[in-house]
């Protein structure tokens, strides 16, 4: 075998950059990745992060109890901004989830082999983000004891849900998205759980992994059907991810509120979701690869490629901002034009400019190779992108609601301490689940990474001839 270069970020069209560094054979790949789970104790950073996350999770639990006991008035939702932080947080978390599905499903359809290093924990991130997202509509209904009215279940009033409403389409869309992502994630994990089962040193681990591995033994007849099912799931998840965030955008686009009622919302929201999701994947991947020694799999090339995607989707979002503004001006519609001028110079101008600088200006740094390849810069950029995307949803929802058609209704929305703490608590929920995932489940798709290595090619002798030429 030829020696692998340590830096795979070269852009030479005559030779493919290696996607796995320093691991020539399959056994070493298994050892390194399973080493994350098999280490007797996780790194100290894990304990610190877990402690902080569980604290925030418990705060969230207490606040949810307080919310159920006292009512929705503990939030800042108030005439005229009847939708406040809960829906902002919902859209924020659902958007983050979309990157995981894009990496798993869409990049699979595009045969992008580099996805195999990040698809497992990106999918995990999706599921945890959707859990955080789904929590908010669930708790915000006011009368939580009749929230089963959201579903087409016979009830005492003989009344059914209003299927013409995007709020109900959301129920089906987010429910489907969660289920399909969970299935996709689990099915992808079965071969890796079998690997952990076969390497388990304790009876408990062998049985636990063994049950969920379903007795997988790597039979090629099974792999054949597995590959077909995986392709079908990827092909299903792709339009699903596009439709879910479009349906979420319909929550706003189907209404008549100025600044909301525009056809650009579905593609704009989807691009923004992918943008924020990739930034969250990077925020998680950069520490994870450092603390668990996964730099040979999540290489600098992977990070650089993700930065390019962040640049592209960030530019799409910037374009959408410009087009919204142009449409509002060109339409000549008084309320629409006012809505956009108000966003830039009105009472929430501070939020608008945070949003624009974080979403449009900051990612433009990634035009420069030095910024794309610097861990510190990309980490800061990704954090700012997530901040900016949260503010985008805040700006869309709160500015449009707080100053819409009738000036007599105008007011300034204030979040309460419960709003802010619940937002922090949702991060606690997300990080707790994610840290548990890293500790106990295969964090990189072992079988898929092996399949894209040069050693996996049955015609490997042709490869060697080329390489030594």
């Amino acid at each position: 075998m030829t020696t692998l270069p340590l830096d795979n970020t070269f852009d030479d069209p005559t030779r493919r950059a290696p996607l796995v560094l320093n691991h020539d054979d399959f056994g070493s790949v298994t050892n390194t990745i399973c080493g994350v789970n098999e280490a007797p104790k996780p790194p100290r950073a894990w304990y610190i992060a877990f402690g902080i996350s569980v604290t925030f999770l418990m705060i969230l639990g207490v606040l949810i109890g307080y919310l159920f006991w006292t009512g929705v008035g503990v939030w800042g939702n108030q005439n005229p901004a009847m939708w406040g932080f809960p829906i902002v947080n919902f859209v924020f978390w659902v958007g983050i989830g979309h990157a995981g599905t894009l990496i798993s499903a869409i990049l699979y359809l595009f045969r992008q082999k580099w996805r195999t290093a990040i698809n497992r924990f990106a999918e995990a991130m999706t599921i945890f983000a959707v859990i955080c997202a789904g929590m908010f509509p669930g708790i915000h209904v006011g009368r939580v004891w009749v929230s089963y009215w959201l579903f087409p279940i016979p009830n005492q009033m003989e009344l059914w849900p209003q299927f013409r409403s995007p709020l109900l389409w959301d129920v089906f869309a987010v429910g489907t998205y969660f289920t399909v992502s969970l299935l996709f994630w689990y099915v992808g994990m079965i071969p890796d759980l079998a690997t952990l089962r076969d390497r388990a040193k304790t009876k408990l681990k062998a049985i636990s992994y063994g049950i969920f591995a379903l007795g997988w033994r790597g039979s090629m007849r099974h792999w054949h059907r597995y590959e077909r099912a995986y392709l079908l799931l990827a092909a299903l998840a792709t339009p699903l991810v596009l439709s879910v965030h479009s349906v979420v955008s319909f929550d706003f686009a189907v209404a008549q509120v100025p600044g909301w009622h525009t056809t650009i919302f579905p593609p704009y929201f989807v691009a923004g979701a992918i943008f924020s999701g990739f930034a969250m994947v990077m925020t998680l991947a950069i520490p994870a690869r450092q603390w668990w020694g996964l730099k040979d799999f999540i290489t600098l090339r992977h990070l650089e490629t993700m930065n390019k995607i962040i640049l592209v989707t960030g530019s799409m979002v910037g374009y959408a901002y410009i087009m919204e503004f142009f449409t509002a001006w060109y339409s000549g519609a008084m309320y629409e034009s006012f809505a956009f001028v108000n966003r830039m110079f009105g009472q929430y101008a501070w939020a608008y400019w945070i949003m624009v600088s974080c979403n449009v200006f900051v990612p433009q740094l990634f035009w420069f190779k030095k910024a794309r390849q610097s861990i510190a810069i990309m980490f800061v950029v990704c954090l700012l992108v997530n901040v900016g995307m949260w503010f985008e949803r805040f700006v869309i929802i709160v500015t449009s609601l707080s100053q819409d058609y009738l000036p007599a209704n105008w007011d300034y929305f204030h979040p309460t301490w419960v709003d802010l703490t619940m937002l922090a608590g949702s991060f606690g929920l997300f990080m707790t689940l994610f840290l548990l995932f890293i500790r106990y489940l295969p964090v990189i798709a072992i079988a898929e990474v092996k399949a894209i290595m040069p050693a996996a090619n049955p015609h490997a002798h042709d490869h060697d001839k080329e390489a030594s030429a």
């Binding site: 054979d25 071969p191 039979s219 792999w223 049955p458």
Partner: protein, 215 residues
């Protein structure tokens, strides 16, 4: 244990299933098959081709990842799974349509299990009772949902998983199937299986080890 070099002497008994001389209770230990270990994907693909050409039907390859071209070399016919998933998807779309039509566009009363349920057609902002464009999101989501659930359920059913026990798991070498080794297992119930002949064939294909698997 049997190894690659040299052939074992063929006893003059029934040739098909001869228990290994080292097993303790010869009458109850039935031979499940022969397991051959390979080190590289190229080796197993060429070996599989030859096993398939030799005419074996009850056999399988096992690998830590799906080796490119191995299913074709084995002669595996494309699975029916996509058609089943299509059926599940069509069911989902139809269910979505019927659900919304019944609940929002009719006043029909149907027997739904323990109780009668009735549709409740009501006007919302002047939209028609049967407003098909607004039905599309839920229909689409249910199509995708049932297709995905169908894909996973039919995958498990066709693969007969979960199958927590398999005779190969008793073999120590086989533990590396999920790590970095490739295996061919030819079952004893195959009509062409002859203990010594099959062992010779597997040995000639470049296997690094050929072992028995007891049922």
């Amino acid at each position: 244990m049997n190894d690659v070099a040299g052939t074992t002497a063929v006893p003059a008994q029934s040739p098909r299933t001869i228990p290994s001389p080292s097993s303790v209770d010869e009458s109850s230990e039935k031979l499940y098959g022969l397991l051959a270990e390979f080190q590289t994907p190229a080796a197993i693909v060429s070996a599989a081709k030859k096993v398939h050409e030799a005419g074996y039907k009850w056999w399988d390859c096992c690998a830590p990842f799906p080796v490119h071209g191995l299913d074709k070399a084995m002669g595996i016919r494309p699975t029916i799974l996509p058609w089943l998933v299509l059926g599940a998807g069509i069911t989902g779309g139809t269910l979505g349509m019927l659900l919304q039509w019944f609940t929002n566009a009719t006043n029909l009363e149907i027997w739904g299990g323990p109780i009668w349920v009735t549709g409740y057609a009501f006007l919302v902002s002047g939209k028609p009772f049967a407003s098909v464009p607004t039905w599309i999101p839920v229909m689409f989501e249910l199509t995708v949902l049932l297709s995905a659930i169908g894909a996973v359920v039919f995958l498990m059913l066709l693969n007969k998983l979960p199958q927590l026990y398999h005779p190969c798991f008793k073999n120590e070498r086989f533990a590396r199937v999920t790590d970095d080794r490739f295996f061919i297992i030819i079952e004893a119930k195959d009509p062409l299986f002859y203990r010594a002949k099959t062992q010779q064939l597997l040995a000639s294909l470049g296997a690094t080890a050929v072992e028995e698997v007891q049922a």
